[in-house]
Structures are given as structure tokens and as C-alpha cells.
């Protein structure tokens, strides 16, 4: 009980100080993802062929039923955006959590065990890191095929190495500290030390990295989907909406391209601002640097 109160207190403390505008944007997007079926005025995947390519409501031919207009198949843009937030947020959070779990486990093990195992693992991580992100994603996507679940796997495979590097470095310095030696003397096993003594101490850097990375994950997912190797149609993913809207660009159907992009940019921007803030909050060391 006490721990819960402590935890809630901390959460409140963070919430009080976090920048408000990005938090609000994030809140709106999360809410629209959770309650997409209540909020969306139309079906995101089935359109009305008679209502094709309507502009947003303030334009001449626009209608109030279709606030942000319709696409080439007569589907409501707003509804697709709302359902799209589900995919983007799901992929982003799931991928970052998977990547953090894999990377942290491997990083702590490598750092703690040390010796040749550490050397092998870290050379492997170095090699993995030297494969450029987007291209690696495309290669994996070609091998694994499209799909939301596959994208999550691909993203976590692309991004886990950074966690391994950071946690391994911290573990190396942590394991020479007195409290770890004391734990060893007290008879703790290796796994227990790693779990109970090392892991909590590397958590803040893992969280910082995750919050800084989540925006990049959203962009890379959108890129893969845009290139046609990510989330398959007719799902309402934002990247997919952009690639479908690309064809209508020359004809001047700007709303097909502008709104999904705004959604991505707003999401990534709020992630970035909050991530930046969290980095400073969790590491007072940085405050003097900037």
C-alpha cells in the first residue's frame, strides 16, 4: 500500500511538471485510439463511392458530415485518422517496450558476466548498429512480409541494440560499486543481483532512451508503411494514407496528404518534447549543460 502511494505521488510529481501542450496532444491521440469506435463518425475501411474526394468542410464543395473530406474511395479522412492513431500508438509502444526488454536483458547480462561473452555480444551489437535503420527495416519487412504484428517485431529488432549498449556500459560501472559487492558477500546469486540491484539502477536511462526513441519509431513505421512494406491496406495507417494520397497531389487534392502528415508530426513532436524534458528531469546532470 505504501509503495503504491509513493508511486502515485511520484507520478503526480512528474505530471505536474511535464510540458502541458504536448501532454494534451498525446492525451487526445491516446483517447482517440482507445475510443476510436465511439468517436469516428464513419467506417474507416468502407467508403461511400458517391462521396469521393470531398474537400474539408470549409471549402466550397465540403460537407459537414465529412469534416476533413474524403479520399479516392469515398472514405472519411477524419475517421481514418482516428483509427490510424490506434495503429501508430500500438506499434510505437509495443515496439519500444519489446526493444527495451530485449536490449536491457542482453546489455545487463553482457556487462555483468563480462569476459569473452561480453566481447562476442558487443561485437555483434556493433555490427547490428552499423546497419542503417530504415534499410534494415525494409530488408526485414521483405523477408517477413507485411502486417501490424510483423512491423512490431521488425521495429523491436531494429531498435534493441541501443538499449544493450547503454545498459551494458552502466552495468560495467555499477558492478564495481560497493552495494553490489555487499550483495555478493551476503550470498545473492548472479540473477538476483542483476534483477534486484542492477536493473533498478539502469531503469532511468532505459526510460530516457525509450522516450527519445519512440518518436523515431513512429516515423520509421510510417516510412515503411508509406513504402508499401509495412501495414497493409485497407487498414487506416497514417503512412498508408500518405502513400494513397500521393497520386492525387498533382490534381490538387491537398487534404489527402496534409492531414495524415499533421497527425504524424504532432504525435512525434509531443513524444520528442516530452522525451527531451524527461531526459533533463531524470538526469539533473544535464541541467547545467544546456
Amino acid at each position: 500500500m505504501n509503495r503504491l502511494v509513493f508511486f502515485l505521488g511520484q507520478a503526480w510529481d512528474i505530471l505536474k511538471r511535464v510540458p502541458k501542450a504536448p501532454l494534451l496532444i498525446l492525451f487526445i491521440l491516446v483517447a482517440s485510439a482507445l475510443f476510436a469506435n465511439l468517436l469516428a463518425p464513419h467506417d474507416p475501411e468502407i467508403g461511400d463511392p458517391r462521396q469521393r474526394l470531398l474537400p474539408p468542410f470549409w471549402e466550397e464543395r465540403g460537407r459537414m458530415q465529412y469534416l476533413l473530406g474524403t479520399d479516392t474511395m469515398g472514405r472519411d479522412i477524419l475517421s481514418r485518422l482516428i483509427y490510424g492513431s490506434r495503429i501508430s500508438l500500438l506499434v510505437a509502444f509495443a515496439a519500444v517496450i519489446f526493444a527495451a526488454c530485449i536490449g536491457t536483458t542482453i546489455g545487463i547480462c553482457a556487462g555483468f558476466i563480462g569476459g569473452w561473452a561480453d566481447q562476442i555480444i558487443m561485437r555483434f551489437v556493433d555490427a547490428w548498429l552499423s546497419i542503417p535503420t530504415v534499410m534494415f527495416g525494409i530488408l526485414m519487412a521483405v523477408i517477413m512480409g507485411p502486417g501490424v504484428f510483423n512491423i512490431v517485431i521488425i521495429m523491436s529488432l531494429v531498435f534493441w541494440t541501443r538499449y544493450a549498449r547503454i545498459t551494458r556500459g552502466e552495468t560495467l560501472s555499477l558492478k564495481t560499486r560497493d552495494f553490489v559487492h555487499l550483495a555478493t558477500i551476503a550470498g545473492c546469486g548472479r540473477w538476483r543481483i542483476m534483477r534486484k540491484h542492477i536493473l533498478p539502477n539502469v531503469m532511468s536511462s532505459v526510460i530516457t532512451l525509450a522516450s527519445l526513441q519512440i518518436g523515431i519509431v513512429v516515423v520509421v513505421e510510417a516510412s515503411l508503411t508509406f513504402l508499401g512494406v509495412g501495414v497493409p491496406p485497407p487498414k487506416p495507417a497514417w503512412g498508408l494514407m500518405l502513400s494513397e494520397g500521393r497520386g492525387g497531389l498533382i490534381a490538387g487534392y491537398w487534404w489527402l496528404v496534409v492531414f495524415p502528415g499533421v497527425a504524424i508530426a504532432l504525435l512525434v513532436m509531443s513524444f520528442n518534447v516530452i522525451g527531451d524534458w524527461l531526459r533533463l528531469y531524470l538526469d539533473p546532470h544535464y541541467r547545467n549543460l544546456e
Partner: protein, 288 residues
């Protein structure tokens, strides 16, 4: 470096025959494909063959073009290097100027503007910037072509949409490292000597402040090739990115693999080069 290849080769083990085979191929076709590409042999032997051929520059044939993959990759290099060079020029230009200006007037309106500009660059996917640029400059104003290759006009929009993202990093780095340098003793000495402000910032501080920026710029050079995939696709720019995109869409696995392999090796070499350049720029760093 070899381990990069190990990893890639390991991925060949999925079942590459399925990737190579046209949709609707039956078991007999698969078997034939496995035999033709040596995929029926045990994995270590396959890997050995892969390395042996790869070192000779033979990465297999493209199914789509019917040409050796290495030839196609080399053919697409000039366009990519041109685009990367231009994007680098734009991003470094924006980054250095914006960083210095913002650091000189900390907390002013210019500082805020620069901050928003970098945040926007970091948050907008580059292919979306590309689409917006087409919308404004090709569809509305009709001053720039929507895509293609050949003239400076063709280069402007792709280079800018690719460069904006990277300029944000340079801006921040120039900003913070210039502030750090400006606080150091030797700058105070320069001030005491009564040197004009422009000479202090431009000559004495800038030279030291630029070191981390150069490092980042070098490391980013290859990252840019990877980031350019979507931009090249939007503008039909005939570089590695577009090659990879066409390969991916047509399941031309050899091409996709070769591009990734090539760019990864480039990345490793680049990191080495940056280390050397770093030592050259900062005489305090010397490797034994």
C-alpha cells in the same frame, strides 16, 4: 565488419527460395530454385560461398533487371552521392548558421525561432516534407519539377526535405558546444585582449566548437543514404534508395540485400574515417 555479413547471411536461412520464387510456384519449382542457388547445402557452406563470392564483388543477379547486382548498385551511386552531398551542404549550412545565431542571442526571439525550426524538422517525416514541397512549389507555384533527375531544379526539393531533419541535430550541437567554448578561459583571454566580437566567435570559438558537429556530420553521411529511401521514392530520384524500394516491392531479394550490405560496409568505413579526421582536427587526440 565480417560479423555484419554473418548476420545478413544468417537471415538468408529463412527460406530464401520462397522469396525468390514467383507467387504460385509449386514444390518442384522451389526445389529447382534451391538447387540453382545452392540453397540445398548446409548453412555453413552456404555462408562460405556467400563470403567467397561477396569478396569478389559477386552478390548474385537481380531477378528484375537480369544484371549482376553489384553492377546495378554501382550504377545508382552517383545520384545518391549527389543527393546526399547537397542535403549535407544544406543541413550543415542551416545548422551552423542557426546554431551560432541562437547561441549569440540566447533566449531572444531568434533563439526561439531556431528551436521551433529544429523541432519541426525532427518531427516531420522527410517524405511528408517532400509531399508538402511538391504541393507548394510544383502544384501551386509551378516553379519546380515534381521529380526526376538532371538539373539543379530537380535537386532542390529532395535535398531540402532530406536535409531539414539532419539540420536540427547540427543546430543543437553547434549551439551547445559553442556555448561551452565561449565559457572557456582562452575566450576570456581573447576578450581581455580586446579582440572584436566577430573575430572571437568566428575565428577562435568556432574552430573548436565545430569538432563535435563534424563528427556527427560524418557519422550521419551514411545514415542519410538510408533516410533517403522514402524521399528518393517520392521524387523518382534514381539513387540507391529508389533501387531498394523497387527491389522491395518486386521481391527482388538480391538487390535489397546488396544495397543493405553495401551501405552497412560504407557505414563502418565512415566511422573509421571520422575517427581519423577527429584526430586531425583536435591535436590533443592521438591514437597509439
Amino acid at each position: 565488419m565480417v560479423s555484419v555479413i554473418v548476420f545478413l547471411a544468417a537471415h538468408l536461412s529463412g527460406d530464401p527460395a520462397l522469396l525468390i520464387a514467383p507467387p504460385g510456384a509449386d514444390e518442384a519449382d522451389l526445389k529447382e530454385i534451391r538447387q540453382r542457388f545452392g540453397l540445398d547445402k548446409p548453412l555453413p557452406i552456404q555462408y562460405f560461398n556467400f563470403i567467397r563470392k561477396g569478396l569478389k564483388g559477386d552478390l548474385g543477379e537481380s531477378i528484375l533487371y537480369g544484371l549482376p547486382v553489384s553492377e546495378i548498385v554501382i550504377g545508382h551511386l552517383p545520384a545518391t552521392f549527389l543527393l546526399i552531398g547537397a542535403a549535407k551542404f544544406i543541413s550543415l549550412g542551416i545548422g551552423l548558421v542557426a546554431g551560432v545565431l541562437a547561441a549569440r542571442r540566447r533566449g531572444g526571439w531568434l533563439d526561439n525561432l531556431v528551436r521551433w525550426f529544429s523541432l519541426a524538422g525532427l518531427s516531420m517525416p522527410n517524405f511528408w516534407i517532400a509531399l508538402l514541397l511538391i504541393l507548394v512549389f510544383s502544384v501551386q507555384l509551378r516553379v519546380l519539377p515534381t521529380g526526376g533527375y538532371g538539373s539543379v531544379a530537380h535537386l532542390l526539393m529532395p535535398a531540402f526535405s532530406l536535409g531539414w531533419y539532419f539540420s536540427a541535430g547540427y543546430t543543437r550541437l553547434t549551439y551547445s558546444s559553442l556555448l561551452q567554448v565561449l565559457n572557456s578561459e582562452y575566450i576570456k583571454l581573447a576578450r581581455v585582449k580586446g579582440l572584436p566580437e566577430i573575430s572571437i566567435v568566428g575565428k577562435h570559438a568556432f574552430k573548436n566548437a565545430i569538432i563535435p558537429v563534424v563528427t556527427l556530420a560524418g557519422m550521419n553521411l551514411v545514415v542519410m543514404i538510408s533516410g533517403a529511401v522514402a524521399v528518393e521514392t517520392v521524387f523518382a530520384w534514381p539513387g540507391l534508395g529508389q533501387l531498394m524500394y523497387i527491389g522491395a516491392v518486386n521481391r527482388d531479394f538480391n538487390v535489397v540485400q546488396a544495397v543493405v550490405l553495401f551501405v552497412s560496409i560504407l557505414m563502418v568505413m565512415m566511422n573509421l574515417l571520422v575517427d581519423i579526421l577527429y584526430a586531425y582536427l583536435d591535436p590533443r587526440i592521438r591514437y597509439q
